[in-house]
């Protein structure tokens, strides 16, 4: 509404953020938050036992973490910011107003984290570190605390997006930070990171120690033990988090429909989730009890499971917060529910900034429909690409002639039957124009160009009008 609309019409804007954010969260959890304490623990084992092999293994694991986190990890972090501010500037702009000081604090911690990991890694083999091993270990512990703190801050914002709690009634920094989902999600994520990092490090350790069978067994046993130990708080955190979620969604989504909407997601996958968790526990027990019998090639399995579990968790989290991007404050389409009555009276286009059409007339129906699509659908849907709006209607009404009258009725009530969709804003005329545009799109692969190529003024080509 108030920003030119960036749009990727093939991959879709969701996928852009999802890819960047998934890479970032995998690196953050498996190579920083969860891995650094494990590495410091291995270094400590080396000091305690006097066995240099622990120290060497810890260092080799750290080098992997160092290279990946300071390049791809750091830049995908910036990438999340750049991509979300392109796709939904209203949402990220609002979040920054509320969470500015949290982000600011997170930035100082992040800066310290970068400095610390550079020192911790590059000084590992120096004479200084050999003489002052305990001081060097203290650096590692400090680094682990810093890594956890950066995550702890961001989880507050993620929790807020899912449940704003009392913030809408009492706006303020602390009412936003201490949202109902913050602590449960943090209690879940912390051991989740420790477990998944353990699984990845298990694979790497198996690879790094392949020449020394005896030490390999010891390393596998130790890291399997680490993973098992954190499984318990992981399950407890999952339980706390799961209990907090329905309270968050109760307010705006009828429970019955939630289960309806979740059915095709959770149904077949529920089994997979439990199976993968069971596999993690079994492999952990196996590795801790009889490491010699655990073939090295099998160590890839837990690492793959960890990647899948983390990605799947993020996907579910993103799904739960729908239809809002900031629960109760802003829908995923970047419009605020409080503005809906105004749009219903005047029309959405009348209040949009970058639209060549302000009022629907007979001559501009398609242009009006295109602008409606741009403003209300394009944050999540494409014309013909991923999550295509044409495909959605095709899946519902088949591929015979579509009845515009029925489609209009559907747009008016869609949010009741699809609770993860926000209501379509605007007037009946605008809904009708949007329907005409979608019907025209079906016949014409014209697509929709974002402001990044076509400019803000909505000058791109329209699909051909007319019937078959």
């Amino acid at each position: 509404m108030d920003f030119p609309v960036f749009h990727l019409d093939f991959f879709g804007n969701r996928l852009l953020i999802a890819v960047i954010a998934s890479i970032h969260v995998l690196i953050n959890h498996m190579l920083a938050v969860g891995a650094i304490p494990l590495i410091a623990w291995l270094e400590w084992r080396g000091i305690r036992t006097g066995d240099q092999r622990w120290d060497r293994l810890a260092y080799r694991l750290l080098v992997v973490c160092f290279i990946v986190t300071t390049s791809l990890g750091a830049l995908t972090g910036v990438g999340i910011w750049l991509s979300t501010s392109l796709v939904n500037p209203s949402a990220i702009g609002s979040l920054i107003r509320v969470f500015f000081w949290a982000w600011f604090f997170e930035w100082t911690v992040f800066a310290a984290e970068v400095v610390l990991i550079v020192i911790y890694t590059l000084s590992w083999q120096s004479d200084w570190a050999r003489r002052r091993k305990r001081t060097h270990l203290a650096l590692g512990v400090l680094l682990a605390v810093n890594s956890w703190l950066t995550m702890a801050v961001i989880v507050a914002i993620l929790g807020f997006q899912m449940d704003t709690g009392i913030w809408t009634a009492q706006p303020g920094f602390w009412t936003a930070v201490l949202n109902p989902l913050y602590l449960p999600q943090l209690a879940f994520r912390t051991p989740f990171a420790l477990v998944t990092a353990g699984l990845l490090m298990l694979m790497l350790a198996g690879f790094f120690t392949r020449g020394d069978r005896e030490f390999r067994d010891r390393a596998v046993r130790a890291i399997s033990g680490w993973t098992l130990v954190f499984c318990l708080p992981w399950f407890a955190g999952a339980w706390a988090y799961w209990r907090a979620i329905p309270e968050a969604t109760q307010g705006n989504i009828p429970i019955a429909l939630t289960t309806l909407a979740f059915q095709h997601y959770l149904g077949p996958l529920q089994f997979l989730i439990f199976a993968s968790v069971a596999a993690v526990v079994l492999l952990g027990v196996w590795g801790a009890a009889a490491p010699r019998r655990l073939p090295a090639s099998l160590l890839i399995v837990p690492a793959v499971l960890a990647v899948w579990q983390l990605s799947y968790f993020e996907r579910v989290r993103e799904f739960i917060r729908k239809p809002d991007v900031i629960q109760g404050y802003m829908h995923a389409n970047a419009l605020r529910p409080v503005d809906y009555p105004l749009y219903a009276e005047d029309g959405l286009l009348a209040h949009a900034v970058y639209t060549p059409v302000r009022e629907v007339t007979e001559d501009n129906r398609l242009a009006a429909g295109r602008e409606m699509f741009r403003l209300t659908c394009s944050r999540c849907h494409t014309t013909h690409g991923v999550n295509s709006v044409v495909q959605k209607f095709g899946a519902m009404y088949g591929w015979q002639e579509w009845d515009p009258q029925i489609m209009r009725l559907y747009l008016g009530s869609m949010h009741n039957t699809r609770p993860f969709m926000p209501p379509v804003p605007g007037t009946a005329d605008e809904h009708a124009a949007l329907v005409d545009y979608v019907i025209a799109l079906r016949r014409d692969p014209a697509g929709l160009h974002g402001a990044q190529t076509a400019g803000a003024a909505g000058r791109d080509r329209l699909p051909a009008a007319g019937t078959d």
């Binding site: 108030d2 500037p89 000081w101 003024a457």
Partner: protein, 444 residues
């Protein structure tokens, strides 16, 4: 550029700023200075590495210097990225609408920052760590350095195009993609201004870097001694700063006039005077007898730092004044939109009959009807009389409303209405329509 009334007028984020605006502005200027210092060192360092490596083919000392400079670049680039997040946060919160609009309009390039920076970093690392391994393939090694430096030359353009585009809402409707944003006035002058500054700052940094106590200059270099290094790096810094006498005025004179002020000229003149003083001292250092160590270095350092602050503060002053008027309009518009939404929500909540009233009619009734009636004089002339003057010219009504003259001295003068052009056109259209026919009433 069209008048400000024709600029796009979005609503701002309707949430309060997280802190006092002055505090946030101070944070922005100070944090940005730290960020740009390391960006300068990263860009200038990677350029000088390549240039020195090329010179090194004839004069081996320069290859030694190039290798040492390459070592500083990888550290400075990490600091440049880490220190960039703070000012990015500050500019996001202070100029949300302006910055994000510029980002969206150059979206492809804006996103490309992530892979481009990643590749540039990897190239710089490869270049740094293959110095010995590629000893027999010098051409390839220099090419790696050039590719990295080349990317470092491109990436700042993306940031510059954004930071420039955000200042000119009047251009937002014309821009189509990053390349067209590059064609706006002031992008290229600022780019060259930035590049020369990078070389100047890096020259000074390397002077301190190589002449620091304990730097093994005597053992590593054959022909160059400390005096020679001093001349070399002061020379680079002085030459680049001298170029700014060309680029500086070019930047200033291509700046669109709507943000100019004498205060800004004062700030920039201060910076120029400090820079001239620093240049004079550098010249004295270059030509001074070589026996003494660097007597004026500390003062030169302070002067250059103050110059950078004056210029950094100057650009902030320009940004604030260039956007001042549009921001005031936007603040008023945001507040109005909030009231309109609240009123509509109240009507919906109380189940009142909702009539769809066209915008022109609504604004007319809430803003104009207290003074202008259909066919009699209230405070101002009647609509019939107005329609007689502007029969087919709603734009004339809009222009008058923005900047009214005074025809009737017996009545109070009409105040200027700072409504955006679209609203004014709608109101004017409604006024003429209402005289031409019966007032349209639509059921909704």
């Amino acid at each position: 550029m069209a008048s400000i009334a024709d600029w796009p007028l979005p609503r701002d984020i309707p949430l309060p700023l997280p802190a006092d605006s002055i505090l946030l502005q101070t944070l922005l200027v100070v944090l940005f200075m730290w960020h740009i210092l390391f960006v300068n060192l990263m860009v200038g360092g990677s350029l000088l590495t390549v240039v020195f490596q090329l010179i090194g083919r004839q004069r081996p000392d320069f290859t030694v210097l190039a290798r040492a400079i390459a070592g500083t670049v990888t550290v400075n680039k990490s600091l440049a990225v880490v220190l960039g997040v703070g000012p990015l946060l500050a500019i996001n919160v202070l100029y949300t609408v302006y910055f994000y609009t510029a980002n969206a309009l150059t979206g492809g390039a804006w996103l490309a920052i992530v892979p481009l920076v990643t590749i540039a970093f990897l190239l710089t690392y490869t270049h740094k760590y293959t110095w010995d391994r590629l000893a027999n393939a010098r051409g390839l090694h220099i090419a790696l350095g050039m590719a990295g430096a080349g990317l470092f030359l491109v990436i700042p353009l993306i940031f510059l195009a954004n930071i420039n585009l955000m200042l000119f809402p009047g251009r937002w409707l014309q821009v189509e993609g990053f390349l067209s944003a590059l064609l706006l006035p002031n992008v290229w002058p600022r780019y060259f201004h930035f590049l020369t500054a990078s070389v100047a700052i890096t020259g000074l940094f390397l002077l301190f870097f190589f002449l620091r106590a304990g730097c093994p200059v005597e053992t590593k270099l054959r022909d160059l001694d400390r005096a020679g290094l001093r001349r070399l790096f002061y020379g680079i810094s002085l030459g680049a700063t001298a170029l700014q006498l060309l680029f500086g005025p070019w930047v200033l004179f291509t700046l669109p006039g709507h943000g100019m002020s004498w205060y800004l000229i004062g700030v920039i003149t201060t910076g120029v005077v400090l820079a001239l003083w620093a240049m004079h001292l550098m010249w004295r250092e270059i030509t001074a007898p070589l026996a003494r160590a660097m007597p004026r270095a500390a003062l030169i350092f302070v002067l250059v730092t103050l110059t950078a602050f004056a210029m950094g503060y100057g650009r902030h002053v320009y940004r604030e004044s260039a956007l001042q008027e549009h921001r005031a309009l936007m603040a008023a518009h945001t507040q109005d939109a909030g009231w309109l939404a609240a009123a509509a929500a109240w009507r919906e909540a109380t189940g009142q009959q909702v009539l769809r009233i066209p915008m022109g009619q609504r604004v007319f009734e809430s803003t104009c009807a207290a003074c202008h009636a259909q066919d009699r004089v209230l405070v101002g002339p009647s609509l019939v009389e107005i329609a007689g003057i502007y029969r087919d010219d709603p734009g004339g009504i809009a222009a008058w409303t923005r900047q009214p003259g005074r025809k009737r001295t017996e009545m109070p003068p009409m105040p200027a209405f700072r409504l955006d052009n679209e609203t004014l056109q709608a109101v004017a259209g409604y006024m003429l329509e209402r005289v031409a026919g019966p007032a349209p009433i639509e059921g909704g």
